[in-house]
């Protein structure tokens, strides 16, 4: 939960801190060379105590400059060259009002600065960082007269801020140099799945249907209708965050790996997939038996048809499918009994239709 709050606070870029007198504000880093807060608003003549917590993977500093002096300070910092590290990349000049030391990842430092009235830039002056990693402290009694954050020239390039704030403006809504054609496959981080997830969007009415296949455990995890995925957070920055489900999840696998070969505990190995008319047909080994699985949307309503092609084996095969409220299973061969389907000996192809009323 704490992490979620942190994440939320990191994406709400334009929340302005409001303060007066002696004020303490904590600034941290968010992904992609950014301070988590870029616009602080305090009363004039505030003695501002800024605590800088570096949560990034690389070292940063935080330098408060005189109004309109950010670029000059950044240039002078760059000119320090090899002397930079010893000076924490902070040039000795009157334009620098206050600064932290170099703050290694995980560490914290603070500074105190008196801001009378005006716009006081703050910036990381590490070589290269100064061009993108900055923000501004406004000391003002009239915050309503400040430009909206989107038009504020004291904040980093609006496009970049917009991207960090997940308001994407792409030539294609897909985020790719082409329109997304369904079926489509994304290997990505999905919630409620192992880390080797494969999201598949299927064509259909009302936004179509989608499912997640877990390439680690080689099984279908869940399915939803009404849309595919939103990758904007996953694509942003370093790739920690999940791709989001767009739509309503109507099915979740609750049984673990479904196949049993003989009486053996299942041992699986993912082998990849082949695209058939853009539909992925997954391939995996179950105790050495190769299984192919192709998942298509059910015709005539919400649901999936899972078609399995099984390599020859002398072992008996069982497929587990626990009865779930609101889900109907219909096997092509055999029948569902005690939450499992025993396949007749020699079965090479088997399909299971999964539907909702």
């Amino acid at each position: 939960m704490g992490k979620l709050l942190l994440l939320l606070s990191a994406v709400l870029l334009h929340i302005s801190a409001w303060a007066q007198g002696d004020t303490t504000i904590t600034i941290t880093t968010s992904g992609g060379l950014q301070f988590d807060q870029k616009r602080l608003i305090v009363r004039p003549n505030t003695r501002l105590h800024l605590i800088f917590q570096n949560k990034d993977d690389m070292a940063h500093n935080l330098v408060v400059t005189r109004p309109n002096a950010r670029l000059r300070v950044v240039e002078f910092a760059l000119a320090l060259g090899e002397k930079g590290p010893a000076l924490h990349h902070v040039p000795v000049m009157s334009d620098v009002l206050a600064h932290t030391v170099s703050v290694e990842p995980g560490n914290t430092d603070s500074l105190t600065v008196k801001v009378t009235d005006g716009a006081y830039p703050f910036v990381c002056t590490y070589p290269g960082h100064g061009a993108v990693m900055y923000g501004v402290v406004y000391a003002t009694d009239e915050p309503e007269k400040l430009p909206p954050p989107s038009e504020d020239r004291n904040l980093p390039n609006p496009d970049r801020v917009a991207e960090a704030g997940m308001q994407h403006h792409h030539t294609n809504a897909s985020g790719h140099p082409y329109s997304l054609t369904l079926p489509a496959v994304y290997r990505t981080f999905m919630p409620d799945c192992g880390p080797a997830a494969i999201a598949v969007g299927l064509p259909g009415s009302d936004g179509g249907q989608s499912y997640v296949f877990d390439a680690g455990s080689c099984r279908l995890r869940y399915a939803w209708s009404g849309g595919f995925v939103d990758n904007s957070e996953q694509w942003d920055g370093k790739g920690q965050r999940f791709t989001k489900v767009v739509g309503d999840i109507y099915y979740r696998d609750t049984d673990g790996f479904p196949w049993r070969v003989g009486n053996q505990a299942p041992v699986v190995q993912f082998k990849g997939y082949r695209l058939i008319d853009r539909y992925p047909e997954f391939r995996y080994l179950v105790n050495g038996v190769e299984v192919h699985e192709l998942i298509r949307p059910r015709v005539g309503g919400r649901g999936l048809v899972r078609t399995f092609t099984i390599a020859p084996t002398k072992q008996p095969l069982t497929f587990r499918a626990t009865v779930q409220t609101g889900i109907q299973y219909k096997p092509s061969v055999g029948r569902l009994q005690n939450n499992q389907i025993r396949l007749p000996a020699g079965t090479r192809q088997f399909s299971l239709t999964l539907s909702t009323p």
Binding site: K3, G31, G32, L33, K55, D56, D57, M58, A59, E82, G84, P85, A86, E104, P105, G106, P127, G128, H129, H170, T171, N172, S174, G175, H176, P177, Y178, A184, V185, Y186, R187, T188, F189, C193, G194, P195, A196, A215, G216, N231, W235, D236, G237, K238, G239, Q240, F270, K271, G272, Y273, R274, L275, P280
Partner: protein
């Protein structure tokens, strides 16, 4: 004002060119398709001369340099960061969860099979668990490298692979199998843990001598970024991966003292001093152009994320062990208003001998896109080799040095220092010493300068600052003035010197 007047008078009086690297190499930016977020994860050339590129959002695209047309080959990959062309229709791509073989089996120009070649390693779901490679040795073995996780984020409830809590402590950690390892994949498909002790091994490559080289990034246990020569079974110093060594006891490696860990590790062959050479070294590529890319044929180039330069490494071999130096390449380079950008994550030589650069930021510092450096002719005055002697260093240049400049002792300033091996993030330069150069000799062909230093000590870096050395009666200016030699071992006798 006066100065500029004098300068312009001097320019007028003597039409000598400024002589910069941009007089020998040009750079251009390759247009990428509209709508593409060109965070370049990998690039290589197909046998037919087309460029194959992986991008962060999972696209694999092919670019025909003749027609300048981009085409989509594959999509939906998870942060692909490595590529190798097998044929015009078959690529190996390293993505987060696995090494994948992409094949266009029906010849329509688009991959239709995505075959898992190797996924026998763990994933905790931590963003820093990047996967790099593959590169291939002469026997057909493939090598990949697996980044450790970062305590900038945690691990997921559901993992792939066995969880080991002993690998969880620390800034960068390896709580699932083979994080921090280089893995070998044999031609018959076996996946074997090969070498351990890596933190963020974003560059793998074989040099022209067939040595497997891996770069690693400054951070915890790495006082500065570095390059290792990697051999089977060895441990290279970042401790957390030790938990996945079969013989390693059931302990948290961080409970071992730095002295113990130091005694277990194989040190880097070449250090890249932080701030001076590199912040984040990336991929290596051998200049296989046979001279089409200038005077550095056969040498290894290394990319760098934060500086607008590349690096060249100059290996030396002492007692059979590689050590040596690094020097910038194309520093301050640029032409027609196009500078070399930063974020040079991936490098590939085209069949025509031009060097293509794939750029990314990936949430860190960097630019995005693709640039290409082309050699236009002539010989820049630059350092071609640096070798240790029993008493100092021999520096060999691309062309004869003007004797008057070569013989000035003041043109050679040497600092030496080391970086501490410890748990903390990075290291300052420790025990910095100024090392006087006592004599300088010039070879009869005036290409090699032999320096005698007042003192040489092992396990230190020698940072050599070169002054205004010139060639061709002052017409040629030295391109790079700093070269850093990692001295792991002293050379005891001249007879021990080996060709590289």
């Amino acid at each position: 004002m006066l100065l500029s007047l004098l300068t312009s008078l001097w320019l007028w009086a003597s039409p000598a060119p400024a002589d910069t690297i941009s007089d020998y190499y040009t750079i251009e930016t390759i247009p990428t398709p509209p709508g593409l977020t060109a965070e370049t994860g990998a690039l290589t050339f197909l046998p037919d001369g087309r460029l194959a590129v992986c991008f962060h959002r999972g696209e694999v695209m092919l670019y025909n340099p003749q027609t300048k047309v981009w085409k989509l080959f594959a999509e939906g990959l998870h942060d692909p960061l490595g590529i190798m062309a097998i044929s015009n229709r078959e690529l190996l791509v390293m993505q987060r969860p696995e090494l994948t073989r992409l094949t266009d089996t029906n010849g329509d120009g688009v991959a239709d099979t995505y075959e898992t070649v190797a996924d026998q390693f763990g994933m905790s779901g931590n963003y820093h668990e990047f996967a790099f490679g593959p590169v291939r040795d002469s026997k057909g073995n493939l090598y990949i490298s697996l980044n450790t996780a970062s305590n900038g984020a945690g691990v997921r409830d559901e993992l792939r692979g066995r969880y080991d809590s002993l690998g969880r402590p620390g800034r960068m950690y390896a709580c699932v199998p083979y994080r921090g390892w280089v893995m070998q994949i044999t031609p018959d498909g076996k996946v074997k843990p090969y070498a351990s002790g890596f933190r963020s091994p974003n560059g793998l490559g074989f040099d022209a001598q067939g040595r497997l080289l891996v770069t690693d990034n400054q951070g915890d246990w790495l006082g500065t970024s570095k390059l290792y020569q990697v051999e089977e079974g060895k441990f290279y110093g970042h401790p957390t991966s030790l938990v996945w060594r079969p013989s390693f006891p059931q302990i948290d490696p961080l409970t071992l003292s730095p002295q113990t860990l130091d005694s277990m590790r194989t040190v880097e062959s070449i250090a890249f001093p932080h701030e001076i050479m590199a912040h984040s070294p990336t991929q290596m590529v051998v200049d296989n152009s046979k001279g089409k890319f200038g005077p550095f044929a056969g040498q290894t180039f290394v990319g760098e994320m934060d500086f607008p330069h590349l690096l060249r490494i100059l290996p030396d071999v002492v007692d059979g062990q590689m050590q040596g130096s690094c020097v910038p390449f194309f520093a301050k380079g640029g032409s027609n208003g196009t500078p070399l950008r930063i974020g040079n994550n991936r490098l590939a030589f085209a069949p025509d001998g031009s060097l293509w650069l794939g750029q990314t930021d990936h949430g860190w510092l960097g630019d995005r896109g693709i640039q290409r450096i082309r050699y236009t002719g002539g010989t820049p005055l630059d350092i071609l080799a640096m070798t240790l002697t029993p008493t100092g260093f021999d520096l060999t240049f691309t062309q004869p040095i003007d004797e008057s400049t070569a013989r000035q002792l003041a043109n050679y300033q040497v600092r030496s220092y080391y970086y501490e091996y410890h748990r903390a993030y990075g290291s300052p330069q420790k025990d910095v010493q100024i090392v006087p150069v006592s004599t300088v000799q010039l070879s009869s062909d005036r290409r090699t300068v032999s320096l005698t230093l007042a003192q040489l000590q092992p396990k230190r870096i020698y940072e050599l600052h070169l002054g205004k050395l010139t060639g061709n009666s002052g017409q040629k200016k030295l391109m790079n003035h700093i070269v850093c030699y990692t001295l792991n071992r002293l050379r005891t006798q001249v007879a021990g010197r080996a060709a590289n």
